[in-house]
């Protein structure tokens, strides 16, 4: 995934932007109250936003559906508003001791207090997996907890 830059716009909302593989700066302005603007900047003038779309709440969901993006991301971005709460995407590497075992086996919550809120397998999201959920190599777990706890989870998933 490209690096997303987040910029606060006091009095307006928040802007997220990233550079596409074609070199255009693409961004979304989240206005307070839910309206969103999508814009593109041509590669030769990264300062000037050309407004492309002006979307309300409904349109945003429709567009996300059409793009085939998992709705998990949005829920997580709301969670991130809580102070001290960190979120991370941890891949299950093929050599991880838990590839092929369940989330319960890893005892993540017991040991670190961190929750696995979703698992993403290829294109498919599995929101809120239970302890019996079986992890596979190349899954991506979405975890929420303290920054410290998440570091601990990283080493559990890597080394057991």
């Amino acid at each position: 995934m490209s690096r997303i830059e987040e910029t606060k716009l006091p009095g307006v909302g928040v802007r997220f932007d990233f550079i596409t593989r074609q070199g255009e700066r693409v961004g979304v302005v989240h206005h307070r109250g839910g309206r969103r603007e999508i814009f593109i900047c041509p590669p030769d003038d990264p300062d000037t936003a050309r407004l492309v779309l002006d979307l309300d709440d409904d349109d945003v969901h429709t567009l996300a559906d059409v793009l085939g993006v998992s709705p998990v991301i949005e829920e997580i971005s709301q969670l991130q508003q809580v102070e001290g709460l960190a979120m991370d995407w941890l891949p299950i590497k093929p050599n991880s001791p838990y590839a092929g075992r369940t989330i319960g086996d890893a005892r993540i919550r017991t040991l670190t207090g961190v929750s696995v809120v979703a698992v993403i397998r290829g294109e498919d999201p599995f929101p809120a997996p239970g302890p019996e959920f079986e992890l596979k190599a190349d899954d991506i777990t979405v975890v929420v907890g303290t920054a410290h706890g998440i570091d601990a989870v990283k080493s559990i998933l890597a080394d057991g």
């Binding site: 716009l9 006091p10 307006v12 802007r15 593109i40 900047c41 990264p46 300062d47 050309r50 407004l51």
Partner: protein, 381 residues
Amino acid sequence: MSETARLLLEIGGIVFVLALLARLARWLGISPIPLYLLGGLAFGQGGILPLVTSDEFIDAGAQIGVVLLLFMLGLEYTGDELVKSLRTTARAGFVDLFASFTPGYLAGLIIGFGPIGSLFLGGVTYISSSGVVAKLLEDLGWTGNRETPIILSILVFEDLAMAVILPILGALALGGTVTGTLGSVFAALTAVVIIISVASRHGEGLSRVAFSGSDEVNLLTVFGVTLIVAGIAEQLHVSAAVGAFLVGIGVSGEPADRARALLAPLRDLFAGVFFIFFGLSIDPSTLPAVAGTVVLLALVTGATKAGTGWWAARRVGIGSRGRIRSATALLARGEFSIVIAGLGITAGVAGELAPIAAGYVLLMASAGPILARAVGPRATL
């Protein structure tokens, strides 16, 4: 004609004229503020439609207008945002303060407002209109531009500076002894610091407790609390406007969104009355005499403000087109210049302050957006 009939006709007439002017401003694509001021001139002494009975209403309405303008400004920001942007834009903010306050202050000295009276004219030329600029960014589709965060953070700095300057000017306006003035300035600054720091930590929680599910209850609660705090602040010589601004900062999160939607129409109404009120206080025959001063002041402070915008954008590596946009975006002066001039008039600064401020805002509130539109029209693919 009975007193009641005349009162209703006059108030109705004022509001209806405001409506026509707002419509005209939309059609011209400019801020309605300069037109409202012209409307006030037309209603005033020596104007074409002098008012007789609605004085008290306009007087009270104008006070409420100032309170609501500042309350809504405070709503735009959370304490957190203010603290953060103070840290990141302090340098650009002080350059802006120096570059655009000084010419006004010097002009005041030359005209003969004295060292204290000139502070008000400095304030008039310093502060850009957050309302006009925010609308401009939106209308021209500039919100996604890379220079926009810089423009916004300079505006935040100015508004915060105003929260510090207003109580000082307010205390000077109310006169009194040196120790009394220092005391109220100290009280004001303490209140500003306490409220901003509490609001940046607990604002959302507090607002959530105060808000209920009913729009009616919310409107009355917010409006009532704002006026009461403004009144207390005024009594403590901290200036009603600053009290209202602080209440606005205290309300944050979702309740702020709702308060914005609920109070915006009230603000539009009473702010309109306030501009009419200010226009009313000016004798149109005094305008030609100050025209030269106004134009000169507009040229100089237009140049310093544009220079600040250009420099601030260049500092963070924005290209030339973005620098020009940020130079023009900050030009517009509006509601807060008039608020400061209004305080100056209460303080008994020489009579020319009102026509100079009105003429100056007339020029800057119209020229700013027109220039911005010319250099950066809405970009499409």
